[in-house]
Amino acid sequence: MDMKVIREDDDLTHVKLSGRVDLEGIGGLDLEFTRHAVTRRKPTLVDISDVDYIASIGLRMLVTAAKALNKFGSRLVLLNPHPDVEDVLRTAGFDKVMPIEHDYERALETLKTAA
């Protein structure tokens, strides 16, 4: 897994994950992800369009961040998942706790609504 920070300002944290979000893929990057996504306490957009595989350890990383952000009144929104990855997210009921969007502008709108 790779992580790229796209934008960090007063309104938003926007990061892009790519590759395999499984045990080997994550390595120590979950701490890096948490540092950017959670520590800033801002609405967080996670672009996962280049994630081709996700296992439960990746789901754990995402739900941990979403829960922490929720405590600060911020949302975590997932952007553009690959169909196989989206199927895992929906199977795990993640669409109920973190919105999944396929359009950047719409994702930004969703992030503005209260957690």
Binding site: D22, L23, E24, Y53, A55, S56, I57, L59, R60, V63, T64, A66, K67, N70, K71, D84, V88, T91, A92, G93, K96, V97, M98, A115
Partner: protein, 137 residues
């Protein structure tokens, strides 16, 4: 049903990549559709991660045997380990509808396996767990 692929791995996370490489070569050879490959990869990933994470009280080296067999319209995947008895079929499904605050962060792996595979069978044989998963293709 013929035994097509048999792999023995150690109870170390670094072994997962060897297993997935072998699995993908097998799936490629069999020309399996990508959604089937995804389901089998995910299920094996979750089961093996579980065995390595929670199956042993010691730090000794153990072996986990993985076998793939193909039959008419079905792929059968067996995982055999000498860890503590664990029957995933008795594992309670996590509450997936609860609010985010109450949402558990773990417990999803076995649920995914049960969802992505069509049939699961568990036996404890000769001090070993044997989980057989079947996927209709």
């Amino acid at each position: 049903m013929s035994s097509d692929l048999s792999i023995r791995i150690k109870n170390r996370f670094g072994e997962l990549s060897h297993l997935k490489d072998a699995l993908h070569k097998y799936c490629e050879f069999r020309e399996l559709p990508s959604n089937i490959v995804f389901a089998i990869t995910l299920s094996l990933d979750e089961v093996i991660t579980n065995v390595i994470s929670y199956g042993y009280d010691d730090h000794d080296e153990h072996h986990i045997n993985v076998t793939l067999r193909s039959g008419k319209g079905v792929i059968e995947v067996s995982v055999e380990d000498d860890g503590k008895p664990f029957n995933p079929l008795e594992f309670k499904t996590p509450d997936l509808k609860c609010p985010i605050d109450e949402r558990p962060v773990g417990g999803l792996g076995i649920y995914l396996v049960k969802t992505y595979m069509n049939e699961l069978e568990y036996e404890r044989v000769g001090g070993k767990n044997r989980l057989t998963m079947r996927k209709i293709i």
